[in-house]
Symmetry: C2
Subunit: 209 residues, 2 copies
DNA sequence: GTCTATAATAAGATAGAC
DNA sequence: GTCTATCTTATTATAGAC
């Protein structure tokens, strides 16, 4: 076994950062193993292929995040039989921000990864929606519908995808946006600030007339 | 000269489609020249490098689109001294949809390209905002401010970037979304339908309390 | 302007010694 | 599990004949 665990973790840590910053196909296994300070062959030994490494990087986040969102969703349903749309969307805030405790810059790394994987052929993102976590998605959609019963299923579909785009895209470029805000508006904002600015925007969009 | 013009155009046409479908770094010059049915060396002869070809593909759209948006903006200002937010955002509809007359699937191709270029290192998108077309952006922002005077400059900045994310991201995956809508909701929707569904969402988000 | 041939480089992956 | 060395393949780009 030796350092198997730490090597695998070193690869995951290095890979997620490079993927988030530069994208999947723009990041080579050579860059990853160099940054991780492990041998070139270890990526294929531990993960089989670069593609499986990409999967593993995303899965490591989702398998923590999605159960947390699930807990929030059931908590909201119990505490509040008729939550507002803004309350429904807020179920994401705590789980997503708590990724920062789990790993440095965890929040923005995951969201950047989601942004990348959505445009980069969409394979991994579809997995997120229709794959293992479909029941949590359904639970969330049901709450949206309850908070905004006027919307048809097709309208909910479109507006939730608009929402997804807003969030993922914003977060994929959050570093640049925070820099501009700092320079142009003297606004010292962190990732939490961005998330909290997003919620009213999204809630208003989804409940638009 | 010979077929210079048609070769160059054939390359641009093939490239824009491949870039929109698969991304910039996932598309090789070999694929482009094969699809265009021209010689491999012609990309470098006519454009210098693959990167300059990417620029040329995007520029060909923007140099038509941005002046049209400018016309709409001044038209709106003259016709309507106090336009609503929804009217302000609607200035994009006609110019963007008219790209379909210019070239088959022009609308979705450009918007997919913008989606790609935003995450793919953001170089081309920044050009769009801060480069040659900065005055048109400023004109648009001024109209947004007039329609929604309660918003601070910093709030406008954030909300317009949220908007940008919504649009670009949606359009980058519009084909997939239209397919799902067709399959799941029996909804025969074209790109115009997506654009028109986006406007209320965006307008509500920007004017959120 | 167009073509073939090829250079130069970088990629993912693996065989086999330790 | 880890390492070196290497294979195979694909890339962008260019030199030089036509």
């Amino acid at each position: 076994m030796a350092n198997a665990q730490t090597t695998k973790l070193k690869i995951l840590d290095a890979a997620e950062e490079l993927f988030a910053d530069h994208g999947f196909s723009e990041t080579s296994t050579r860059q990853i193993t160099k940054k991780a300070e492990v041998n070139l062959a270890s990526v294929n030994y531990h993960f089989g292929s670069k593609n499986e490494l990409i999967q593993a990087v995303i899965e490591r986040y989702l398998e923590v995040l999605v159960p947390n969102i699930d807990v929030e969703l059931t908590g909201l349903k119990n505490d509040n039989p008729n939550p507002t749309l803004e309350e429904v969307f807020s179920v994401f805030i705590r789980p997503i921000l708590s990724l920062n405790q789990q790993r440095k810059n965890g929040t923005s790394i995951l969201l950047q990864l989601l942004g990348r994987s959505y445009t980069d052929s969409q394979r991994h993102m579809r997995r997120f929606f229709l794959g293992n976590y479909g029941d949590v998605v359904a639970k969330f959609v049901a709450l949206v519908y309850k908070a905004q019963p006027g919307l048809s299923p097709s309208e909910i579909f479109w507006r939730l995808h608009f929402t997804l785009g807003t969030v993922v895209f914003t977060m994929a470029s959050s570093d640049a946006l925070m820099d501009i805000a700092r320079a142009d508006f003297d606004e010292q904002i962190a990732i939490e600030g961005v998330v909290k600015r997003l919620i009213p925007f999204i809630a208003a969009g989804v409940s638009a007339p």
